[in-house]
């Protein structure tokens, strides 16, 4: 390997890593606020890519059916729960959140079918379509077990991933997709060619991480999210509803995952089940950040991207094995800090 190849590999690795950064930060965000290790998070990214591809070819994306189904189910559950508790006062607002809002992008997608929205329009619509999925799944799947142990939540998340992959096949079909490049422009620095797309990926990752930071630091809602993450009981005693914060966390995280899906779609062929491996790799980054630190997670995700890039140069068959191989020593190193804390007990 010469310096030139190393530089190309490094560039490639950083671009891949930047995509993992967005998903990794989403993992940390969701875990901090809800204690759910959201295994199906990569699926959200993959579904966004598939949605964008469908819009490009002028089809109604499978996301439409998925969102309609989830919205109806979540609404039914909400109505049933409120009837049982005899707290019907908040029902109109709840219906707005679980039924009307998610169906707005669905309606838009249906109206837009067959028309050319332009690149920006397609990207925006894809993001709008994917955003309700995780919050609705949260309402349907996780809220009834919100007080359960991390292990039970993890089990639910793993099972949900397999269910989502099945649904993905049902709604998106088995074909792989690769979307049009966001841009073909190239530029040259010091005798090496770089694509603007790579730059765009890195820039998007920096911009959205920065926006998230501003949200946390300067808005009451952002502070409420941090408060819930740091001390759920304390937050409830301030009147901060866990259901509200978890919905915000899922919406934000879905946005991050959606953006990474859009960034990855022109570079890699995405299938309905591609999300698992993408998610797991981003997840290695999140574990390097101990599922708690955003900057460390970002660094970890870049590290994973670089590792993957160099590993595929040495042996493309075993690149996945190498990335997961790194997970175990990382977990071990991370768990050392948890030695003195008492493990969870369940009965």
């Amino acid at each position: 390997m010469n310096a030139q190849i190393a530089a190309i590999l490094a560039m490639d690795g950083i671009a891949t890593g930047a995509i993992y950064v967005l998903i990794g930060i989403g993992f940390v965000l969701i875990f901090a606020v809800t204690r759910v290790i959201y295994v199906p998070f990569g699926d959200i990214a993959a579904f966004t890519a598939l949605t964008l591809a469908a819009l490009e070819t002028g089809h109604v994306p499978g996301t439409v059916g998925l969102v309609i189904g989830l919205a109806v189910l979540a609404t039914l559950l909400e109505v049933a729960a409120r009837l049982r508790a005899r707290r019907l006062g908040g029902l109109p607002r709840a219906m707005l959140l679980t039924l009307v809002l998610p169906l707005v992008p669905v309606l838009a997608a249906w109206l837009a079918a067959g028309r050319d929205l332009g690149m920006a329009g397609r990207v925006a619509l894809s993001l709008a379509l994917i955003m309700p999925v995780a919050p609705l799944l949260d309402r349907i799947v996780f809220r009834p077990v919100a007080d359960a142990s991390v292990l039970l939540l993890l089990t639910v998340a793993v099972v949900l991933h397999f269910g989502l992959v099945g649904l993905g096949l049902l709604f998106f079909g088995p074909e792989g997709v690769r979307t049009q490049p966001l841009t073909d422009a190239m530029f040259t620095v010091g005798g090496m060619n770089f694509s603007v797309q790579t730059l765009l990926i890195v820039a998007a990752s920096i911009v959205f991480s920065g926006l998230l930071f501003l949200f946390f630091e300067f808005t009451l809602a952002g502070k409420a999210l941090r408060a819930t993450a740091a001390n759920p009981t304390g937050a409830r005693l301030m009147g901060i509803r866990p259901a509200t914060t978890s919905t915000i966390a899922y919406v934000l995280a879905s946005l991050l995952a959606g953006i990474s899906g859009i960034l990855i779609a022109p570079v890699t062929t995405i299938f309905y089940d591609s999300g698992f491996l993408i998610g797991l790799k981003a997840f290695v980054g999140a574990i390097i950040g101990a599922m708690a630190s955003y900057p460390l997670t970002a660094a970890g995700a870049i590290f994973v991207g670089l590792l993957e890039s160099f590993a595929s140069f040495w042996s493309s068959d075993f690149k996945d094995a190498i990335v997961f191989g790194v997970l175990i020593p990382v977990l071990l190193w991370r768990s050392l800090g948890f030695r003195e804390s008492e493990e969870e007990t369940e009965e």
């Binding site: 290790i37 799947v141 009834p144 077990v145 359960a148 991390v150 292990l151 039970l152 993890l154 089990t155 639910v156 793993v158 099972v159 949900l160 397999f162 269910g163 989502l164 992959v165 099945g166 649904l167 096949l169 049902l170 797991l280 574990i287 068959d317 075993f318 996945d320 094995a321 997961f324 191989g325 997970l327 175990i328 977990l331 071990l332 991370r334 768990s335 948890f338 030695r339 003195e340 804390s341 008492e342 493990e343 969870e344 007990t345 369940e346 009965e347």
Partner: protein, 589 residues
Amino acid sequence: MTARRLRLLGVVAVALFALAPALVSPFSVTLLNFIGIYALVALGIVLLTGVGGMLSFGQAAFVGVAAYATAWATTAHGWSPWLGLILALVLTAAVATVVGSVTLRLGGHFLSLSTIAWGLAIYFLFGNIDALGHFTGISDVPPIAIGALSLGSGAAIFYLIWGVLIAAWLLAANLLDARQGRAIRALRGGRILVESLGIDAFRIKLATFVLAALLSALSGWLQAHMTRFVSPAPFDATAGIFYLLMAMVGGIGALGGAAVGAAIVTLLRNSIQDYLPLVAPGVAGQLEIVVFSVMFILLLQRARTGLVPLALRYLPAAKPAPVVDARPLPRRPQPPRGEPVLRVEALSRRFGGLVAVNQVSFALGAGEILGLIGPNGAGKTTMFNLITGALRADGGRVLFCGTDITRTPQRHIARAGIARTFQHVKLRPAMSALDNVLLGTYARTRAGFVAGALRLDRGEEAQARFEAMRQLRRIGLADRAFDPAGALPLANQRLLEIARALAADPVLLVLDEPAAGLRRLEKEALARLLVALRGEGLTILLVEHDMDFVMGLVDRCVVMDFGAKLCEGVPVEIRRDVRVQEAYLGSVA
């Protein structure tokens, strides 16, 4: 329904089941065989996850290791399947030991996440190794033969599969009712509790992990020789989820849940494969996993305990074996009265910026009761955790009977003769009061896993039970010996912790707020018990808030405030001390 009628019903059911291969269609026999094979893996998951509290998504990988080992040995090298079995067991145990040694040190959900990682890694290996036929797998695996009798047919292997399953089930049940099994059942109480009983938590976890892997290996071996074909697909992550589903449907906490869960999931899967194409033609294949995910999630939301524990509630409970008189367990010699037992020298411990214990020193002689008092947050419980090794000190020394134990691991301190109770009661609520006290005898007994599973430990077990019953009698709970500890009132649970500590035959008894929540008469009884123990030469260190209780009981007091020692003396002096009144008894607002 009476117990006798139930038993009769059981016998009839078993007899019918044994005749199944002659009564039902070959396809149904095949289904039953798969149920048995899956139930073995689920049994391992019940032991590992339900009883031991270690959640694994990766058990399918162990099934695969064993299946590939025997398939490779019998096809490529022409070994007998029985040699293949030995190879499968040895290889799986080796893999499990290596994987377990690395990952079982991980806490809580990190452990479970690592099971996904190594589960995937092993699966990818199967598909990428030349000798294992890549993703096409290995075919023409020979059937198992017993002498001249080939078990090639479904009906023939039926008896082997269910024989193995029932044997594994019985051995597991025996084990859980013995010394090491109780240690496994204690694991979910947390490391602090387990190590305070002198149990090596990591060793027990590893043993449980290997045991579960061996059950998976048996399943893999049977599967390879029954289907006569091995490929990576049945050992992927989805399979791991299905095994977990089986264990959870049946009841993750009940051994019987394994077979029930395996049966339900297998039959359901079969009928879904039959009926789904009728309901949703064209997409049935995709929907299968969706349907199962939905069912699994509903199960986790609505009925986490599973079916068997639910059903057991309606059946008469099995009568526990009575405790019989036995030779007492040997006791350790107590140091002569007045001999120094515990010496704390300038002990310190910080948490972040807070100094919880600051340069505290005191000493304790054999046969003495010392009270450690002070307001809430004064550092008393931290002090206890430092002495018992549950926390590491930042500075200073602890000497026990002349030996420096400042850096000694918790379980070795427990084995050396310091037994403790906890401020927040740490009992295993689902275990009987007797079993909880039996945990205390762990360090005084030696039966291993094999002895427990084969019931070779009954002599020692009788001694331990006799000892535990003696301690229960002492605290006045003998009549509740077989009730779950969690069903006792809180005050009795505190007493039960004392009985558990006494069952360890300690030199020094360390009690954290033993009288909290007790009523007056109960407090008097507790005080009498502690005085009697002192009379037998036991040394006692206790934290307590009730001043009347403390002052009437202890020989001396050490008063702590803000992590530091305020003063030390006999109760009369302490009561008179102005500083103590200010700090502890409540100042005038």
